[in-house]
């Protein structure tokens, strides 16, 4: 059984979606995340273990490699695709409560900005690390974050900005969220922001890459 889970980790790490998928070339013709997840469940492996011992370690390894510039965006997306293919088989177990996600993360690109590739990567990486993700899209103002928080009061929030001119909106949105939900964790990211800026605007954490925010949230939920 641990063999299957190890194989599953590898499928996620290298982005092997299913047997028919040509990617990655070195795994051509082998079973992928799709087949192996199905086999694991058929063999009675608990859905929670498939998630935490199979899928998540693979996603974590790719997150670390991305941080170290050893893989590029497309490879991370391949991993996310393998992950989401596997998750389809786990959906019923989440619905029944037999398997649980670690927490909820609400993310959006802030008002005045449209750059969303980085934000999408963060969303996928969190999902791959066991979080439920609510993606509010681009050009998002405070009211949307607040509405999502009303529905998920225990969620943490992620704000993304790529334009220096939208950093001011990030500051305002952080403060408006904190005014209503002082205990909600607000994390920020995007090329022009940094830890100093995060501190200055009263956010809780800045991460330069998706893995950073995963590790931060893991510490909170541990």
């Amino acid at each position: 059984m641990s063999d299957l889970l190890n194989q599953l980790s590898e499928c996620v790490e290298f982005g092997k979606v299913n047997k028919a998928a040509p990617f990655p070339p070195q795994m051509k013709g082998m079973d992928g995340a799709d087949e192996i997840t199905r086999q694991a469940i058929e063999q009675g492996v608990a859905a929670q273990d498939v998630l935490t011992k199979g899928l998540m370690p693979g996603m974590e390894r790719v997150g670390v490699k991305f941080r170290e510039n050893k893989v590029f965006v497309p490879q991370v997306l391949m991993s996310a695709k393998a992950m989401s293919t596997a998750m389809v088989h786990l959906k019923p177990f989440f619905a029944s409560g037999e398997a649980k996600q670690k927490g909820t993360f609400i993310i959006g690109t802030v008002l005045g900005d449209l750059h969303d590739i980085g934000k999408n990567l963060v969303a996928m990486m969190l999902e791959g690390n066991g979080y439920k993700v609510i993606d509010l899209g681009i050009d998002v103002n405070t009211d949307k974050y607040l509405a999502a928080l009303e529905e998920h009061p225990d969620a943490a929030v992620g704000l993304s900005a790529l334009l220096t001119t939208t950093m001011a909106n990030m500051e305002r949105i952080t403060q408006e969220i904190k005014a209503v939900y002082p205990n909600t964790l607000v994390t920020i990211g995007g090329a022009p922001v940094n830890a100093d800026f995060s501190q200055k605007i009263g956010a809780d954490y800045y991460a330069p890459d998706p893995q950073g925010v995963v590790e931060f949230l893991n510490k909170q939920t541990a």
Binding site: P24, P25, V71, P74, Q75, L111, L114, L163, T164, P208
Partner: protein, 227 residues
């Protein structure tokens, strides 16, 4: 005179280097599914008719610069010290708006958010390359017009770069009298379709074309920064 020019995908020479770099593989050694996705993207791009570039050239009588701001037909633009400095020697100026179009922008967005993020990303990169290629083609036309009058052009600069506030795009767009190639602005100054770029090029007999230097930009942590 405002020119609004439709481009067929085949007329655009995409920057293959850019595509290869953003995908992280050399073009001749790309593993599947990337070549497949690229050919799908190419097929889609060949079938659309909303790739458009608009531009207009402002004569000296319509263009004024005082070192801090620009006035084009009386409309004020404030590109900031750096860009105004780069345009200093210009007697004329050209404004442009380019778009890879609604079809590609929306399909890339739809795929990236759901159905197939990998293809979505490839189409995103492809769409960015198209928008840039349209800007390249307009720049060539502007250069040809300038040269015909014995003038040169500067590099192109966009709102959002070098502290030029994107909100200035409202003023920039107002000068196009609706001939924006189908591109519109949200109240927060985002262009729709997403895969669009806008900007300015300086023209004059004494101007110099300078490569876009990273030292013009304040973003010290940018992944594309060349040290």
């Amino acid at each position: 005179m405002i020119y609004e020019i439709s481009f067929r995908f085949e007329e655009l020479e995409l920057d293959e280097e850019f595509i290869s770099r953003e995908l992280g593989y050399p073009l001749d050694a790309m593993p599947e599914p990337f070549p497949f996705y690229l050919s799908e993207a190419q097929n889609l791009a060949s079938s659309v008719n909303d790739i458009v570039g608009s531009y207009q050239l402002f004569e000296p009588s319509q263009f004024l610069t005082n070192g801090r701001s620009l006035h084009l037909k009386g409309v004020k633009l404030k590109p900031g010290k750096t860009i105004t400095g780069e345009l200093r020697e210009s007697s004329h100026a050209a404004l442009f708006i380019c778009t890879a179009g609604k079809t590609i922008s929306e399909e890339a967005d739809r795929l990236l958010r759901g159905d197939d993020p990998v293809y979505g990303y490839v189409l995103n990169v492809f769409g960015s390359a198209i928008a840039e290629a349209v800007a390249d083609r307009l720049q060539e036309r502007i250069q040809a017009e300038a040269q015909a009058q014995g003038m040169q052009i500067t590099n192109r600069y966009s709102p959002g770069y070098c502290h030029w506030d994107v909100a200035d795009q409202h003023a920039l767009f107002s000068l196009f009298e609706g001939k924006t190639g189908g591109v519109s602005l949200t109240p927060s100054a985002l262009m729709h379709p997403i895969k669009s770029i806008s900007g300015i090029i300086g023209v004059g007999s004494d101007v110099q074309y300078r490569d876009y230097h990273c030292d013009l930009c304040q973003m010290k942590t940018c992944m594309h920064r060349k040290m």
